[in-house]
């Protein structure tokens, strides 16, 4: 009985560990420079459009820095799609600064 419980616990731990590692492997963070984002009033649309995109886990947009830091699932979308979303809000995604 005890060995069954032990093997069950070990299985659960393995499954959870594998799940977390897999999820982390799919999550990427990218910083995209956004041109023309001069008014703070307008930049809310970039955050909104990014967060509404499937696969985007988080988006922090700064009009002061002129950039968007996006955490996304690279199994669901790629940087090209993220740039398209930003461009769709009227601003221009210019270049990638760094990727993790």
């Amino acid at each position: 009985m005890r060995s069954r419980i032990t093997s069950l616990v070990v299985s659960v731990v393995l499954v959870l560990t594998f799940g977390v590692i897999t999820a982390a492997a799919f999550t990427k963070t990218v910083t995209i420079r956004v041109e023309g984002m001069k008014c703070a009033k307008c930049s809310a649309s970039v955050t909104k459009a990014l967060k509404a995109t499937e696969g985007v886990e988080d988006a922090q947009v700064s009009s002061e820095k002129g950039e968007a830091v996006i955490k996304y699932d690279d199994q669901k979308l790629d940087e090209t799609k993220l740039r398209e979303v930003i461009n769709g809000t009227g601003f221009k995604a210019v270049e990638e600064k760094k990727a993790q």
Binding site: C39, K41, A44, S45, T47, K48, T89, F91
Partner: protein, 173 residues
Amino acid sequence: MTLHGIVFAAIVAFSPATVLGQGAIAPQFTLKDINGRTVRLSDYQGKVVLINFWATWCPPCRAEMPDLVRLQREHGKQGLQIIGLTYPPERKTRVRRFARSLKVNYPIILGTREIKTRFSSEETLPLTVVIDRDGKVSDIISGILLREEFEEKIKPLLKKNMEGEMRNAKSDH
């Protein structure tokens, strides 16, 4: 003033967002559009009205306008009426030139701070106030109007009366 009164006044004074709550009767206005035509909000009673606050220098406002033109064209017969109000105030010639270039098919009015604050104190642009067929504020959409938001928040309001009209038409026969 009681403590409750002071607290309430403070909440109202420092509240950063919406002035009008959901279900509030939309404030009426009568203004001239950029072509000199009088636009009264009351003229659109029974329609689903979107009051879109925008500015020519605001990139997301410009980006969403072709979509608004399309929505007006596709859903106008179902009772959708979009009204564009520039905010902050802008020069008429610039606004008119811009509206013409996009072939805007709904009234464009030069807004004022006073008109804007009647609807919302939120400074985000664009900002769209959704008014239902009963003239009540149904929603205030901050930022660009996403397709999903139109489907979720506006389309049901358009369908509401269509269903009522279909029922009335059936009972007439």
